[in-house]
């Protein structure tokens, strides 16, 4: 990258802009800041509905499926921290779109090639982190809040993967696998609806 482009990118990334989506203002103590970051990931529908389908896909994909792609997710989260200041506020539409694609895949084609699952895991880590830190300059969110966001994303992902993975390993019945695929279709349907709500002028005047 040329020096001027690098300088411009750094200037944009480090600009002291105020985040509108998640202000990270409430916490004064480290623990409160950490909880605040955790809450952003676990309560913001656009982020959660991107993480849960990915976990579900990894869980129904194969036994220990998440473990073989998790490092891609975490690496993409690190990249996402640096890219977040550059993304537009509409990033939540990307998280929801990715959630729909992943959930539909988990419902209709739950054993895709490994490269597909790796790609989706990396994209999920990237866009979920970008959405959580969107609107903030690179150095603006406190470290504890940042840790909360990262841990919350991994928590949601791992729980969503562990539930199908552990139940299918314990009770390897075909109907249970079908049950998880039906759950994935429900998740896809909910995400489609949330996508519509986000775009609806009636609900977002």
């Amino acid at each position: 990258m040329r020096r001027a482009t690098t300088a411009l990118t750094l200037a944009i990334a480090l600009r002291p802009d105020t985040g509108a989506a998640h202000a990270f203002q409430a916490g004064s103590g480290l623990y409160t800041q950490f909880l605040e970051g955790l809450t952003v990931t676990l309560t913001y529908p656009a982020i959660l509905l991107c993480l849960l389908p990915m976990g579900l896909l990894a869980g129904v994909w194969r036994s220990g499926g998440l473990l073989s792609v998790w490092h891609w997710f975490i690496a993409a989260q690190v990249v996402g921290i640096f890219l977040a200041p550059l993304v537009p506020p509409e990033i939540y539409l990307a998280t929801l779109s990715l959630g729909i694609v992943t959930a539909v895949l988990a419902a209709l084609y739950p054993q895709p090639p490994r490269t597909v699952v790796i790609t989706l895991a990396a994209l999920t880590g990237l866009v979920a982190t970008c959405a959580a830190f969107e609107g903030h300059a690179l150095l603006e969110p406190p470290i504890a809040a940042r840790a909360g966001v990262i841990l919350g994303a991994n928590l949601a992902l791992s729980v969503a993967a562990a539930l199908p993975d552990s139940t299918l390993e314990r009770w390897p019945y075909p109907w249970l696998r079908i049950g998880w695929r039906i759950a994935a279709s429900w998740l896809a349907a909910i995400t489609v609806m949330v996508f519509a709500f986000e775009l609806s002028p009636y609900l977002n005047p």
Partner: protein, 194 residues
């Protein structure tokens, strides 16, 4: 009951204030609104159960393909409803879903999987559109969506569970009779007597 108790009861009843607990607002109210929307509407109930029944009747893989297809396509219909995109003859489509799916079960039609999925998908659009347009203003939309998707799915599972009766010697005829009943209820909705 003594007069003093009656007076006390009357006093308590007449001084009651407006309920604040279950107003239909917020996440809980939104979930309840969404959850009960398919369940309290018989036109929805018969169609959802029919999807599960028909899937069970057709066997693998339709038994799970149809209940997977329905929510996915229904959500697209719901999104159209939320976005305000008009869809003609929604109520007619919903009533027809009961008739057509009921007849499929009653006549034991073994349609190819893709045909069954297309039929179910088309009707799912109408059901989803109705859910989307009837979103209560006070309800939390996210919770509403979760509620109606889960309720729809549970109704499908009820249909699938009932469909397992086909494994019994008399079950097949019982399920076909249920199909007749579903088609009749759908017909009643179509002509406006239900």
């Amino acid at each position: 009951m003594t007069p003093s108790r009656i007076l006390f009861t009357l006093a308590v009843m007449l001084t009651a204030t407006a309920a604040a607990a279950h107003t239909g607002e917020g996440a809980a109210g939104g979930f309840a609104s969404g959850f009960f929307h398919p369940i309290f509407g018989w036109d929805h109930v018969i169609a959802m159960v029919a999807v599960g029944l028909w899937g069970a009747f057709l066997g693998q893989p339709a038994i799970w393909i149809l209940p997977v297809v329905f929510p996915l396509v229904m959500a697209i219909g719901g999104a159209l409803g939320v976005a305000g995109v008009p869809l003609p003859a929604v109520e007619t489509g919903i009533a027809l879903s009961g008739i057509v799916l009921g007849l499929m079960i009653a006549l034991a039609v073994r349609a190819p999987l893709w045909v069954a999925a297309v039929i179910v998908g088309i009707f799912a659009i109408f059901h989803g559109h109705a859910h989307g347009t009837e979103l209560p203003e006070a309800a939390n939309p996210y919770a509403y969506a979760v509620g109606f998707v889960i309720a729809t799915g549970l109704l499908h599972l009820c249909g699938i569970a009932l469909g397992f009766l086909t494994l019994l010697p008399w079950g097949r005829n019982a399920i076909r009779a249920t199909g007749v009943a579903i088609a009749a209820i759908g017909g009643a909705f179509l002509v406006g007597i239900a």
